[in-house]
């Protein structure tokens, strides 16, 4: 059970962060939308600070705790490009990602976000199933 303490505490931090953004700025902490808005606007300023905070936060955690930096993904670069394109296109069409739909949307009891979350988790599970158990790739 101790293996799940850090994931749980990390999850609590994520929830706290989302609530802090909602209570202070009245905004949904959906990273895909915030990142895109930080580039295209409107209201670029707070978005840039939030995105910068994500990077600073991860850096702080590893620096202060000494927790090892995880190994980068093993996939070849072309597959990383394909994955990035899918994530970018999909999150725009579907209006959100794991944070916006999965944490904030479900938090607001949005049926739309619950359906979106179940959809992308299912698609992720099927994709990994095909990668590992149909194609036999150890990615």
């Amino acid at each position: 059970m101790t293996a799940y303490i850090l994931p749980t505490i990390g999850g609590l931090f994520i929830g706290l962060a989302a609530m802090s953004l909602l209570a202070s700025l009245g905004r949904v902490a959906g990273v895909s939308g915030i990142v895109w808005g930080a580039i295209t606007g409107p209201d670029r300023q707070w978005r840039v600070y939030f995105v910068g905070g994500l990077i600073v936060g991860a850096w702080l955690l590893h620096t202060l705790s000494g927790m090892a930096i995880p190994a980068p993904p093993e996939a070849p670069l072309w597959l990383i490009v394909v994955a990035g394109l899918f994530v970018g296109i999909g999150t725009r069409i579907g209006s959100g990602c794991t944070s916006g739909h999965g944490v904030c949307g479900i938090g607001r009891r949005s049926a739309r976000s619950l359906i979106a979350t179940l959809t992308f988790i299912s698609a992720g599970i099927i994709t990994v199933f095909i990668l590992r158990h149909v194609l036999g790739l150890g990615l």
Partner: protein
Amino acid sequence: MSKLAALVSGILFGIGLALSGMTNTAKVQGFLDLFGDWQPDLAFVMGGALLISLGATPFILQRSKPIFAEAFSLPASAVIDRRLIGGGVLFGIGWGLVGYCPGPAIAALAYGTESTVVFIAAMLAGMGLAKLLKLA
């Protein structure tokens, strides 16, 4: 103050993503590998985050306005349509292929690895492409 609030929220989020193991693509793919060597870590991350968001969101939205803004800016759409499902499917495929969703991928830029930078560049290109093709 709004800049500081955004920065602090982002830092808390980044700490949570790194601490929880979400920036570890092997762990994320292990969670999605339901029919193989399943690693339930991510379910606990989601559980912890939802415990807070499900519990606190109604109380925050009861207030007349946010602390540093004039009004809450919440998504207006409640429609469950082909775009929501189709977008979710495309996003899920990309997520499964490498194990990065947008938040953890951005936070992992702190690690300075080439693959993460390439992923973010491709993700932004994908977002731009969706805009260009008027898909979003």
